[in-house]
């Protein structure tokens, strides 16, 4: 049991390294992932350690990257590919939606695609246009994909290892503003699997449901609320698809009130799906309508304006305050 203080970026790097050691068929490729180690250094040192055949740079074409991964997965490999930034992954959208997501189904399970598409996503790092999108809802809407997103350092390692071992394609969304957040972790400790949400904080009064970059904000809000006398449960989804109805609904039923916190725009999004599910399943346990704290329905703003777009502690606390605590 050795606890080390490492960042999420380092944990992801270690997960790739350990997966490549564990399984010769794991290959990593994408833009600038070789000598440079990726623009966020997630693949740092992998080419040096495993050689050009295992971790390599590709031409600058995302559909080609994902499409090639499909073929390699068809032919016995476990490719892990990096989309350099959320919004740079859109050229690959057709490959993801028409092939990655559908291959198993259209071939009646004869062709499995054990592949991982890593996508650094979300804002909060002062990125200029096209560098801060939250694209998870596009993927979550597509049947056949598995969509996970870690919010902690331990999960970054554990979920990525599990995603690489997963028999089906996984869209692995990395909250880039958390890349540098450090935690004391024991990487050998087993983490809950894909499809399992985790309660990060217990509290009797209301539930915050969050994932990825929104989780630390929700936890901070719960801390402040506690100081003000209101105890909040915080659920970390971890896995958007499959969705853990059981854990989420159990928390909502216990507390009777809920706020969904997500960094993506709210309209027709993962957050709206959560509200719909919770309302459909927990209606009689609810003392108030489920509220949401999301981004506005606008393109992600330029760096000088992004603070107005991101969920904040104040907005979460205001939403909690609005949960009809008294009849009026």
């Amino acid at each position: 049991m050795t606890h080390t203080k490492i960042s999420m970026a380092q944990a992801l790097n270690q997960a790739l390294r350990d997966a490549m050691h564990a399984d010769d068929t794991v290959v990593m490729f994408g833009e600038d992932v070789g000598a440079l180690g990726g623009v966020f250094r997630i693949t740092d040192g992998l080419t040096a350690e495993f050689g050009e055949n295992r971790c390599f740079d590709t031409p600058l074409a995302e559909a080609g990257i994902v499409g090639m991964a499909v073929g390699m997965a068809m032919n016995g490999m476990r490719p892990v590919v990096e989309m350099q930034f959320d919004a740079f992954g859109y050229p690959a959208f057709e490959q993801v939606v028409s092939h990655v997501a559908k291959m198993r189904n259209r071939t009646r399970g004869r062709v499995q695609l054990p592949m991982v598409i890593r996508i650094p996503y979300g804002g909060g790092i002062g990125g200029v246009e096209h560098h801060s999108d939250s694209s998870e809802s596009y993927f979550a809407h597509t049947p056949g994909l598995t969509v996970v997103t870690p919010a902690t350092v331990a999960d970054a390692y554990g979920l990525l290892r599990k995603a690489i071992e997963f028999p089906d394609p996984v869209v692995f969304m990395e909250p880039k503003k958390l890349y540098w957040a450090k935690e004391e972790v024991d990487l050998t400790e087993d983490q809950p699997g894909i499809g399992t949400a985790v309660v990060r904080r217990e509290g009797a009064d209301a539930t915050l449901i969050a994932y990825g970059p929104a989780l630390p904000v929700a936890l901070e809000a719960a801390e402040v609320a506690a100081a003000e006398g209101r105890q909040l449960t915080v659920v970390d989804l971890r896995s958007v698809v499959p969705f853990d109805d059981e854990t989420v609904c159990a928390a909502v039923r216990r507390t009777g009130r809920a706020v969904v916190v997500a960094e993506a725009s709210g309209f027709a999004s993962v957050s709206s799906e959560i509200v719909a599910r919770v309302t459909e399943k927990c209606f009689h346990s609810l003392a108030a309508p489920v509220r949401r704290v999301t981004a506005f329905d606008i393109p992600f703003p330029p760096p000088k304006l992004e603070k107005y777009q991101l969920p904040s502690v104040d907005r979460i606390l205001d939403a909690v305050d609005d949960l009809q605590w008294e009849d009026s």
């Binding site: 590709t58 499409g67 073929g71 068809m74 009646r108 598995t146």
Partner: protein, 362 residues
């Protein structure tokens, strides 16, 4: 030393070893295939044509939802698979059913997509044939991936990736050729240029001198062949496969052929082209010219003809018998194959549909 131009540019004219009158032509770079290969090809052509025409008839009888026929393109269809070895892969499009059958896939399983009882009916690993791709050119990067993985594993697999003239306009065509070239992947990209993408003629599709010239931009050698000359296609594709297998990287071959029928039965070709454009192509028919040549060589004896006819009759019977009964479909299958482990939500939705059906029956 060969120049870049010599290495990459296609022949000035499409390679043609047997012309439309059945006359053989010498070519400096390609040899006429052997008698045995041409006789095999003859049988495959006869069978492929029968497959096309029987499938089209079955659309009219309501047994297939749709059939994009390769009538007139059978030389391309059968040559693409005749040049492959057992361990090689084929990546077909929706118009390449004859190629798939020629590769050994069961004819009924081949037509599952077009019959509509599932999206893909055959096991892609059984004959190393990828599912038919409907979104144009999107299968080409997969072909590169299969080839690259094979190369990393030290296997001498070659991948034959099929695409049409319209497909060459797609970004995935460009990305696949570029990736294949950069990774030196053993892929033969085979363009069947049949002059039409549904209604849009080649002139509105590309301003390139030929589609084979597109290889130049990627450093991929291009070659073009008369798409209705089985002999030329076997020679050109055979050489491309050999080069790819020998480690010379990807190859691009364009076959000049013609879609003599409409895009599918649902299409009305009279809206965009005149009969006098189609008529000359009927004289360039791939079967007719090979037959003439084989007759002139005195190679087409009754045995060969009988054998070809028997195989054609067999496939026609297979299609009629196999497609006449209404296919059995199971609504439970709708949820079964999305994930290795079914999600809770899909289990609930499957149960919903089960209950709904049970109520209907009650």
């Amino acid at each position: 030393m060969t120049t870049v131009e010599e290495r990459l540019l296609p022949s000035a004219e499409p390679v043609c070893l047997i012309d439309q009158n059945g006359l053989p032509h010498e070519h400096p770079s390609y040899e006429l295939p052997t008698k045995a290969a041409l006789l095999d090809g003859y049988t495959e052509l006869i069978r492929g044509r029968r497959f096309n025409d029987q499938a089209s008839a079955l659309v009219r009888q309501g047994r297939l939802a749709v059939y994009p026929s390769s009538h007139g393109q059978e030389a391309c269809q059968v040559a693409a698979t005749m040049v492959l070895k057992e361990g090689d892969w084929l990546f077909p499009t929706y118009r390449d059913s004859v190629s798939i059958v020629s590769r050994g896939v069961d004819p009924i399983e081949t037509l599952t997509l077009l019959r509509g009882d599932w999206h893909s009916g055959y096991d892609p690993y059984a004959h190393k044939v990828a599912p038919q791709s409907t979104p144009l050119a999107t299968q080409l990067p997969h072909a590169v991936g299969v080839a690259h993985a094979a190369r990393l594993k030290g296997e001498d697999t070659v991948v034959m990736a099929l695409v049409g003239d319209g497909g060459t306009s797609e970004g995935d065509f460009h990305e696949a050729l570029n990736f294949a070239a950069v990774f030196h992947a053993p892929v033969v990209f085979f363009i069947q240029n049949n002059e039409y993408a549904i209604s849009v003629p080649l002139a509105k599709q590309s301003a390139a001198p030929s589609l084979a010239h597109k290889g130049v931009g990627y450093g991929v050698p291009g070659e073009r062949a008369d798409g209705n000359d089985l002999a030329g296609l076997l020679a050109v594709l055979g050489q491309a496969v050999e080069k790819a297998r020998a480690g010379e990287g990807p190859q691009l071959v364009e076959a000049h052929t013609y879609r003599v029928q409409a895009h599918t039965n649902a299409d009305d070709a009279t809206r965009y082209r005149q009969d006098d454009e189609v008529t000359p192509w009927l004289d360039r028919d791939p079967i007719q010219r090979l037959t003439t040549y084989l007759e002139q060589q005195d190679w087409l004896d009754d045995d060969v003809r009988r054998q070809a006819e028997a195989k054609a009759a067999e496939v026609a019977t297979q299609l009629r018998d196999g497609l006449m009964p209404e296919p059995e479909v199971d609504p439970a299958d709708l949820f079964k194959y999305l994930y290795a482990e079914e999600t809770q939500q899909l289990r609930e939705q499957a149960a919903f549909l089960r209950d709904e059906l049970a109520r209907e029956e009650a």
